[in-house]
Symmetry: C2
Subunit: 333 residues, 2 copies
Amino acid sequence: MPNIPLIELEALSIKALQRAGASEGNAASTVNALLYADKQGTASHGVSRIPQYAGHMGAGRIDGRAQAKLLRQHAAVSIIDAADGLAFPACDLAIHQAMIAARAYGIGLASVTNSYHAGAAIYHLEAVAKANMVGLAFSNSPAAIAAWGGKRPLFGTNPLAAIFPRQHAHPLAIDLAMSEVARGKLMVAAKEGKAIPLGWAMDEAGEPTTDPAKGLKGSMAPTGGVKGSMLALTIELLVTALCGAHLGFEADSFFDVQGNKPRIGQLFIVIDPAAMGGMDVFHERSETLIAAMLADGGVRLPGVRRYANAAKAEKDGINVPEALLKQIRDLAA
Amino acid sequence: MPNIPLIELEALSIKALQRAGASEGNAASTVNALLYADKQGTASHGVSRIPQYAGHMGAGRIDGRAQAKLLRQHAAVSIIDAADGLAFPACDLAIHQAMIAARAYGIGLASVTNSYHAGAAIYHLEAVAKANMVGLAFSNSPAAIAAWGGKRPLFGTNPLAAIFPRQHAHPLAIDLAMSEVARGKLMVAAKEGKAIPLGWAMDEAGEPTTDPAKGLKGSMAPTGGVKGSMLALTIELLVTALCGAHLGFEADSFFDVQGNKPRIGQLFIVIDPAAMGGMDVFHERSETLIAAMLADGGVRLPGVRRYANAAKAEKDGINVPEALLKQIRDLAA
């Protein structure tokens, strides 16, 4: 199948979300994030989500016309209310707030409540790196990981992203979830009738399983075992207890059309190196570490492949599977 | 062997550090932290470190009389200079700074440079939880973990700790390192001539090994593979690039008496829930999650066992191995 030019995919995607109930601004903010992921080669967080988002708008789980707003601000911290809408406009506002605060106070924090699927966590931090600041992003998601020793999924896969700006290169861009693998991999295996490797998921009894269907009814293995589960717990509390968002186990699955308003949370921290040791120290330390990493053959910097994908996509467009493109075209029609 | 009463062990330990070159204040701050770890059952970060700290003072790697000082402050962020001294007095000051900032601005950050082994990361956050705030602690350490795809150890085991206060119970206290296991476990196995399980360490060629001696010359396996290595990188940059501290691979091993001044870094972030959604929301969200965790049979809250150990130790004292007690007595004599 041929690549679709970015500008065409963008217009089509915005139209699809608008027809499904999103305001123009909310659709534009969302498509910007989805295309970023597609360009970087993270198709699972790209326009492949449009049918899902459209379905949730149709089912009333999210309100495409919601207006994200500043709910509370105190000096360097703030809470944004996503108002049961698409997550991206609210996260845009949160990042803006956290960056302004970091410039003024050296560090800023903004949390988003009553939120929804926020796509690739690293996306939100691009603006932070462009402003020469360090960023951390956290989100929860519908429950997938059990507390250590338990069987019932309680925590989301809870991604963590971190960005570190560089002077003459793309930032170091780290983005990882606390599950060993994404839940989507189980869904693919289940659809294809294939077994999954041990270590990906547990069944409802908490036992390791190679059956993807049993894994989907059970829980996802946390990365690194107990440590991944403890990190998922840490992120779960950071993104809910400070702003009042729903816990992962209170939000119905994103993979079902019907369900409750997810009302999950995100949290962003921005730090200004200029307010600390200064940009010269920051870059000298970072580049010294990066040089040592690259001197060790076989090491690839986090983000490098994704930025290379993005540069290629800017020129060549994105290869969207025929069936998905048809879905988006149908939604936009 | 009989338990030694806490008050006796405390006096002896302070004296040992003073005789080895520490000022009274620095010795007291250090022993407070070491006894906390011993009481909690984390003997590896307790008074067992006294001979090591004493050795490093003797060899001039750290200065026991150093005065930790505020190097720079800008609104909510600050840098503390540990001045090549013991880490604890500097971390005490950093936590104080970060807490004051969090009260004023909603969030506070303090980083420590020119620092040293900071013991159990969770220790530093106890004061944060007592003040009803949320805390995060990070440190690097002499290189142990390779960049993903590489062979040479570049990042420390880089602990991360998080504390969440509760109203009528001990805080949730999470503390974990980014290596699959502690380096000390390899040293014990090497001494006993035993093999180690695959997955603990790699040899100098980057290949998984069951030989602890080869593992000690190679690198420690990051927890969860690539994700643990990426988290170790994130922490390495957070604790060095913002404050100018040494990278893990620039600091000689703590397990050798001779070597350079380690000059590693720590970083603490404190968040005031009262400045965000408020304490009622914070406790309601936390307790809802905790109740769900405890309803899932087999789950133990992070920190519970350690706090139970501490309560027992307050009454019964601590069981210090004979040989170690003799070392401390000899140092104090």
